[in-house]
């Protein structure tokens, strides 16, 4: 078949490849970029999902280090290197494992700039994966972003697709503040459009992924794809759903949210974390404060069930917010 008439699928890549590409590019650009974490070197297969595959071979074992299973030591080493000018990318394999190094993340990485009066800062990126769907149960699947968003001094980034993962990762690595970068594990291998090479996506800026005039659905991370599916379905009923992908959970793009909801007068916030005290509560409050008299309906939140992530497949499926729940919330605010 000739090239001219090729029916080959357009070039796609997945999030594993996208993050790998961003790390490769960052390491090539700046010798201060180092990677450390459990199993990240090639001898250990470049991470359990292969996100760091090839980097130790290309940049050497000094800059790409497989570590002991010692999360405090991993983040501590990354912080120490960061305050003297390196740009470490430290992997805490699973988001639940941040619980064993919260002291390093919250008391140190997030606070050293402030406590030192700006004399030191921590240009550290912590990569971590999570998400229900693989039957990994109560200690391997949680979305804990609200804890970190509640801590002043650390940014929380949660890409929804491979191209965003690439552009946001590059921004995190070269940002002068600590960033927690959340990768959704079940969506790791979902193909997406390739990114534009070298283009960094700014932190703190949301992205309108579907335009619509009737209701704003705000989300981040994998679940944005469910929001898009709902928007596309409702478009057939001539319901205009605007989907706003936050990209950065903290600090979030309040201006973009208020612009969109100011227009649609209705908002639904969707996240895979449990609903109570979640990111949705903060966003809903900001919307209420700014647009109270203009809203056509109370803000709706869609989140996971308020329980630990269950193992059994039917329970796990019921735990994660579904497209049906998102759709129902949209219909509620349209009533």
């Amino acid at each position: 078949m000739s090239t001219a008439t090729s029916t080959a699928k357009p070039n796609t890549l997945n999030t594993v490849q996208a993050v790998n590409m961003a790390l490769d590019e960052a390491m090539g650009l700046d010798p201060n970029v180092i990677v450390l974490g459990e199993d990240v070197a090639d001898e250990q297969e470049g991470g359990i999902a292969g996100v760091t595959k090839g980097l130790s071979t290309k940049y050497g074992k000094s800059r790409v280090r497989s570590t002991p299973i010692s999360e405090q030591a991993i983040i501590g080493a990354a912080i120490g290197a960061a305050i003297v000018g390196m740009r470490p990318v430290a992997e805490i394999m699973l988001m639940n494992f941040t619980t064993v190094c919260m002291d390093m993340i919250v008391n140190h990485a997030a606070k050293l700039r402030f406590m030192s009066g700006g004399q030191t800062h921590v240009p550290l990126t912590i990569r971590t994966m999570t998400g229900a769907g693989f039957g990994t149960g109560g200690q391997h699947s949680d979305y804990l972003e609200a804890w970190f968003a509640h801590t002043a001094g650390i940014k929380v980034v949660a890409p929804s697709c491979p191209a965003d993962a690439y552009g946001l990762m590059l921004s995190c690595v070269f940002d002068d503040d600590p960033c927690l970068f959340i990768e959704n594990m079940p969506a790791y291998w979902a193909p997406g459009a390739p990114p534009e090479k070298g283009v960094r996506i700014p932190l703190g800026k949301a992205n309108i992924v579907r335009s619509g005039g009737d209701v704003t659905v705000i989300g981040y991370s994998r679940i944005v794809s469910d929001c898009i599916a709902v928007a596309d379905k409702l478009a057939k009923e001539k319901i205009g759903v605007e989907v706003l992908d936050l990209r950065t959970v903290s600090p979030f793009d309040e201006e973009a949210i208020l612009n969109s909801v100011g227009k649609t007068r209705r908002a639904v916030i969707v996240h895979e974390a449990v609903t109570p005290f979640g990111v949705g509560a903060e966003i809903a409050t900001r919307i209420n404060k700014a647009l109270f008299g203009k809203l056509a309906a109370p803000v709706e939140r869609v989140g996971a069930s308020y329980c630990p992530v269950p193992f059994s497949k039917p329970l796990e499926t019921a735990f994660v917010p579904s497209q049906a729940q998102i759709e129902a919330a949209v219909r509620t605010v349209l009533k």
Partner: protein, 321 residues
């Protein structure tokens, strides 16, 4: 007056006299601050620091003004920080538990037991990757050797041959609990063996012993030989936190330790061995006292930080009001 011994004594005197003044000024209410006294522990950072330069890093802890002063943090900025003033090392935003002064290598002061060690590893890692000859020192107390971060850090440092000194200032008490009631190891330095690391216990009140142990450890670190665990045994004269009634201590224990005060003991040794004269040392002590007068005055007369500082240094960009 050029000998290293006199230099160590100068650092010890700096610590002793500043500690005396901190306690006095805070007790008078002229400065409001929690304060963790360091009297009795002078010899350790004084003798360790005599082996270091400004290019070498330290991470210290809430009981850390001795480590800071020994490393060279200027007194005026230190006093102003403890007074919470805009002229302090950290603009008054850190306080005594978070003093930072990169120009003298004081990179982190932590209020969390055990957290100096993982970060010191990172400072050493940066030096190693960059091929620099710097070393990093993590100071911590005996209580910190029972927290997980100690074990994770020693293991990683040994595995990667990081240029670190883990300096445990074993003052016999973790907060109010006696060493024997909290620590299963007879000696903290015994724990080094489990990490294939050099470990040594020295008399922390003997500056010569600490100096020799630190010298060997610094040479090992600079030459790529990896980390060392130094346990320096000492005693804190004024309890955990200023105002501590010491009721948990054994009767007579503190008095015995104070009778063995390392500062006057070393002073007498210097004179007896011809390293300095009484007049030399008296002049040095008087000079330090004058500098402290000026530092206290500077701190008390300095302006408070602007409230706008609440929005600065949270992130690289200033937060909106």
């Amino acid at each position: 007056m050029k000998s290293v011994y006199v230099d160590i004594y100068r650092r010890m005197t700096l610590i002793k006299q500043n500690d005396e003044r901190f306690r006095a000024v805070i007790k008078l209410g002229r400065i409001i601050s929690p304060y963790y006294p360091v009297r009795g522990q002078e010899a350790i950072p004084a003798a360790v620091s005599a082996n270091l330069t400004n290019d070498d890093y330290i991470c210290t802890i809430y009981r850390g003004v001795h480590d800071m002063l020994a490393k060279g943090v200027p007194m005026r900025a230190l006093w102003a920080e403890i007074a919470g003033k805009a002229t302090g090392t950290c603009k008054g935003k850190g306080g005594p538990m978070h003093v930072t002064h990169p120009a003298t290598g004081v990179m982190v002061t932590t209020g969390i037991v055990g957290s100096s060690m993982p970060i010191a590893n990172g400072l050493a890692l940066a030096a190693q990757i960059r091929g620099e000859k710097r070393v990093a020192v993590a100071y911590f107390g005996d209580g910190a050797s029972n927290i997980g971060a100690f074990h994770e850090s020693l293991n990683m440092a040994s595995l990667w041959k990081l240029p670190v000194l883990f300096v445990c200032q074993n003052n016999g008490y973790g907060e109010h609990t006696r060493y024997e009631l909290a620590t299963s190891a007879a000696k903290i330095s015994d724990r080094a063996a489990g990490y294939q690391m050099a470990g040594v216990t020295v008399d922390g009140n003997d500056p010569l012993a600490v100096y020799a142990a630190a010298k060997e450890a610094v040479e090992r670190a600079r030459s790529g030989g990896g980390p060392t665990l130094i346990e320096a045994r000492t005693f804190r004269f004024f309890g955990h936190l200023l105002g501590d009634a010491d009721n948990y201590m054994k009767k007579g224990e503190k008095e015995a330790a104070m009778a063995n005060d390392p500062v006057p003991k070393f002073r007498a040794w210097l004179i007896a061995n011809g390293h300095a004269t009484e007049a030399d040392l008296a002049a040095m002590e008087a000079g330090i006292e004058k500098e402290i007068d000026a530092a206290v005055e500077f701190a008390l007369s300095s302006p408070n930080p602007d409230v706008a500082e609440l929005r600065r240094d949270v992130f690289a960009h200033e937060l909106s009001a």
